[in-house]
Amino acid sequence: MFFKKKKADILNSMNKKNLDDMELIPVKKEDFIQRMKDLLHHSADLHIKELQNGLTLVYVDTITDNKMINEDVLARLEDAQPTPDDALKRINVGSSGKLKYVEEIIDKILKGSVIIHSDGYPIIVEAAVGTQENRSLTRPENESQVLGPQLAFNESLATNISLIRRYLTNPNLCNESFTLGKQTNSGISLLYLKDIADEEMVERMRKRIQKIDVDSILDSSTLVQLVEDNSLAIFPQLLMTERPDRACAWLLNGKVAVLVDGSVQVIGAPLSFFEFFQSMEDESVRWQIATFLRLLRIFSMIVSIFFTAIYVAALTFHYEIIPQTLLIPLGESRSLVPFPPIFEALLLEIMIELLREAGARLPTKVGQTMGIVGGIVVGTAAVDAGFTSNILIIIIAVSALASFTTPNYMMGNVIRILRFPLILLAGFWGFYGLMIGFCFLLIHLIKQESLGTPFLAPFYPPRFSDWPDSIIRFPLAWTNKRPHLTRPRDRIKFQTRKSKE
């Protein structure tokens, strides 16, 4: 973060200077064509079409719609006066306009516009005839759920915003546009609801985006690492989603959403740690079920982080705490294993990680085979060969399973990796080491912030009115307030009594 600041300042000051002395458009046709060719480096898909009547059309044919050019532009300009005004009048394209500077033209051309130069005029007419290659909308893959809308964002910024607009038909939905990346010039959109979102929060996000100075933003997952509060932190502090309904729920709670062109994930901020363990489906199912599921996820996070480490600690140092009924099965399964528990655990954990990584990069069908081969065959063989104890296999499998219950992929990754340092601590100093690890994580979490708001909200600082919708969920009528976390301008979502009736 810190290196960004200086450069951003320099960039800002440079921008200001350029505004004053931008290059004017060459009046003469030949100069103009030459200039265009130079600036776009004689690109093969650059088309320059000189019409009889003195108009010149310039466009990149790989990102423009040929049909539109032929029917709505070329056909209509054939008998036009060679003046910008007449050309503008004639062309039959919704988004069109006049431009004065070369830089603007280049930008427009690269975004799929056709520009029309009239010989002798320093003014250019521009018409947006671009097309983009887009995937059609699909079902969400990473956040699939049974209930709720089955729709995911795709890679087009325009489509994504349109999806959000469909859910939020609201004039207060603000959309601020930025361009980031010196090389990529990616479009970024900052969305928020004007009458709900805290202005300070929006301003903070705006500043962070503006301060970024990188060569490229290819995906929102890169952007999220540039705008988060502490890049040295273990945990992600901002959440991403591919579900339009979730993004809208965020906006409605006073959060801001950041969209990146070309990315299917939308960034939300600010977020608390516990929101990483929530899913949109919690809102769809009944509150008892939702509460149970949320608690289960928190529990499985704890199991996943600490289970293996506790096994290592107990077997290495604290044999006293093992109940007698477990003592013999544990001891017998361990008695043939040549390694101390810490190596055994690390070995198996790494094996599970290998399986997961191998499975993740392979096509689904091969991946399944992989799982069976790795999980069952290798697992059984390892136990038979006396390489690991079968009880540890159960423990590792359970904690791996538990780590996959986390609804968020990034958080799931963190939880899986966190096991390793804890196993080491447990293997060196037993429960004491584990406790030190736990305290470290606790302090670490308390220190974190998400867009300047406390990460462990609503538990620390305690905000009791937010508890009904945290790691538990009360009936909807009880959760009629927006969370304190976002400092919303309007805290009340709806009047309780009406909704009960």
């Binding site: 109940p323 037993g430 670490h444 308390i446």
Partner: protein
């Protein structure tokens, strides 16, 4: 700025520490089976002292003990007292770590060296202090919340309790009870943190109420522990039990954990962390104010210094002696000095009304 509501947790977590692990025995030696009355007396005493402390602070709008002493006694004498308070905080830090290390070595890891155990604790304190007061108070909060369930485990010794051991009541005479209450000093101190944390509390008008809540909570907990211990152990047994509270955990047994005390002892890390962090915070704040340096850098230096003192090994007798000296000093500092300070503040207020406040503000 900290939400005043959190003061309950800060005060409570500061009082809870290593003292609670074995206070039963030393009180019992004085007051026998009426020890619980001594606990009550000490609870009342903390409430009174807490009241005086808050009153003293209220005399100044938003200053801490360092500012008040500076204002009352001037640069040299005031700073000398400030240094004493800082030394007290560092002493408390040292004593707490020592005692905890002693417990770890006696119960679980006899062979793990001092320097390592001290290093882990000092490192955690360092890490939290870097996050500022917000983090420190957060750890206090979670330390209380996450250890509340431990009190439920009192149900286990409760089953074995023989209430006859509490009778006949009031057999000890008043000096014995008072002596017992005095012995509680080491266990109940910690609430003097109000002296340093006061300027950071947001709603000043609720400070006193929340302070008393925290103290009350502690007193109730100690009382419950004392009563259960008296009924669970027989007299002669209690006299021999160095760590009464930990021994209570020895009979806790779950289907999956046979010996709970191992978990309890290691879990204690989270109970002593707030003590360590807040004492270190107070101390470094004091030094920073005296020398006009940055708090964080001072705290690094102090942590380094105190770590060096912790490496030096001590045996049980020496540790006991150190505890005694510290408790004696703490008794005068916590249960005596606040009254003197309050009197001084009142006198000063009466005679130099305007001047005083201006000074206090300057020294902030």
């Amino acid at each position: 700025m900290v939400n005043t509501f959190l003061l309950v947790f800060v005060v409570h977590s500061m009082q809870l520490g290593v003292g609670i692990q074995g206070f039963q025995r030393i009180i019992f030696l004085e007051a026998k089976h009426d020890a619980w009355i001594s606990v009550l007396i000490s609870g009342v005493a903390t409430a009174v002292v807490g009241f005086v402390m808050v009153k003293t602070l209220f005399a100044y709008e938003s200053s801490d003990i360092y500012g008040i002493q500076y204002d009352l006694l001037g640069k040299w004498l005031g700073n000398a007292l400030n240094v004493i308070f800082v030394l007290y905080c560092l002493g408390a830090f040292h004593v707490i770590v020592r005692n905890y290390i002693e417990v770890i070595q006696a119960w679980i890891f006899p062979e793990v060296p001092n320097w390592l155990l001290a290093l882990t604790l000092v490192y955690l304190v360092y890490y939290a202090l870097n996050g500022g007061l917000r983090t420190v108070v957060g750890v206090s909060f979670f330390s209380v919340v996450l250890s509340l369930w431990l009190t439920l485990l009192l149900a286990y010794p409760f089953q074995f309790a023989k209430w006859d051991y509490l009778f006949p009541m009031f057999e000890a005479n008043i000096p014995e009870l008072l002596k017992g209450a005095k012995q509680m000093t080491f266990t109940v101190i910690g609430f003097e943190i109000i002296y340093t944390i006061f300027p950071y509390l947001r709603e000043k008008d609720r400070v006193h109420r929340h302070m008393q809540f925290g103290l009350l909570f502690t007193t109730i907990l100690y009382l419950a522990l004392m009563v259960v211990s008296l009924a669970y152990f027989s007299g002669g047994q209690l006299e021999r039990t160095i760590w009464g509270t930990l021994s209570l955990f020895k009979i806790v047994r779950f289907p999956f954990i046979e010996r709970f005390e191992y978990v309890a002892i290691t879990f204690w890390v989270i109970l002593i962390l707030p003590n360590l962090m807040l004492y270190m915070w107070s101390a470094s704040r004091g030094i920073a104010r005296i020398l006009n340096k940055k708090e964080k850098k001072v705290s690094w230096l102090l942590l380094g210094f105190i770590y060096l003192t912790l490496i030096f090994p001590l045996n049980r007798l020496e540790i006991n002696m150190m505890n005694d000296y510290f408790a004696r000093g703490a008794f005068y500092l916590i249960f005596g000095y606040p009254f003197v300070l309050y009197a001084a503040v009142l006198i000063k207020k009466k005679f130099f009304k305007k001047e005083g406040e201006a000074n206090a503000k300057n020294s902030d």
